[in-house]
């Protein structure tokens, strides 16, 4: 039997079960597809011709991604974000000889962006650190269950996220503590995997997981609060 026909049999069996038990409502569970190889769709047509080989083709197409990251790092301040994007690309251009071809250019740019922002912050103010006693990503992972139970108890279904306004979600992301916001933005908006985020932020992969799961719980709790009309934010990790 060919692999194809085996796969087809499994699909048929699933469809049958789905129709019989769930009235055909279930779509097959799968990880959210993350297309890490695709170059971003915008901005390759009008790229400038630069002296340093490869920079225009490899680095500049990530400007949207870097800009999104910069917007969140600067908590939505458009002018600060614009400066940060420009500084990031200038630094990247000056250091282009240090970029290892074939590695992830997006991660590299995020690292520069993050470090540039940290440098600005260090000069401006002391950074707000999140207390991270008892880091336990398994325990933190149960936040996925906790938020759903809360939403269900408040009679909110999964359609709640589909109805949410982007402006409000962005404000809720910006309201997260710095350390939580960074991992969440790199993962859920920047599409980096745990290992790549660990590299960008120079923290252990276990810390990435814990912070990410706590950040998702806080954000989702905050969105649930908003939907339930209970106010914009709430400290869910306590």
């Amino acid at each position: 039997m060919s692999l194809e026909s085996i796969v087809q049999r499994i699909r048929d069996a699933f469809d049958m079960l789905n129709r019989r038990e769930f009235g055909g409502r279930i779509s097959r569970p799968a990880p959210v597809p993350r297309d890490r190889t695709r170059l971003p769709p915008t901005g390759s047509a009008d790229l400038p011709v630069l002296e340093k080989a490869g920079f225009a083709d490899e680095a500049l197409p990530w400007m949207d991604a870097v800009h999104r990251f910069a917007r969140r790092l600067t908590q939505g301040d458009p002018d600060q974000a614009a400066d940060l994007v420009q500084d990031t690309f200038l630094r990247a251009y000056r250091s282009w000889h240090l970029f290892e071809r074939g590695t992830n250019c997006r991660s590299w740019l995020f690292t520069i962006c993050k470090n540039t922002h940290l440098k600005i912050l260090d000069e401006a103010r002391s950074r707000h650190e999140v207390a991270e006693s008892s880091l336990d990503s398994d325990l933190d992972a149960m936040g996925a269950l906790a938020v759903h139970e809360r939403a269900t108890a408040l009679d909110l279904d999964s359609g709640l996220f589909d109805r949410m306004l982007a402006d409000h979600v962005v404000a809720a992301i910006d309201a997260l503590p710095d350390d939580y916001r960074d991992v969440l933005v790199l993962s859920d908006l920047g599409d980096l995997n745990y290992r790549e985020i660990a590299q960008v932020l120079a923290i252990p992969a276990g810390t990435v997981k814990s912070r990410l799961f706590r950040a998702r719980r806080r954000l989702q709790d905050s969105l649930i609060d908003y939907a339930a009309g209970a106010g914009p934010t709430r400290d869910a990790s306590a």
Binding site: R28, P31, R71
Partner: protein
């Protein structure tokens, strides 16, 4: 539920890592099989999937043209 399948609490513990594509092949398959059959866990998965759809929408925000031109100009000046 099959006898050798993993329990709901283990699936919940792995749910975000599953959605992130960060589980090893065996764990991923265990979670997938569980979700296909469990009436309790599927809605929890579906709830999280809606969250990721929302994040993807927000991630679609593009850089303003003015900023793009400004960065290009800065790089061209740098290149001279």
């Amino acid at each position: 539920m099959k006898r050798d399948s993993i329990p709901c609490d283990v699936v919940m513990q792995r749910l975000w890592a599953f959605i992130d594509g960060e589980l090893d092949a065996v764990s991923e398959e265990q979670v997938r099989q569980h979700l296909e059959l469990c009436r309790q866990c599927y809605p929890r998965f579906d709830f999280q999937r809606a969250y990721f759809r929302l994040m993807q929408q927000i991630a679609a925000e593009a850089t303003p043209g003015e900023l793009r031109r400004r960065v290009f100009q800065a790089l061209l000046t740098e290149a001279v």
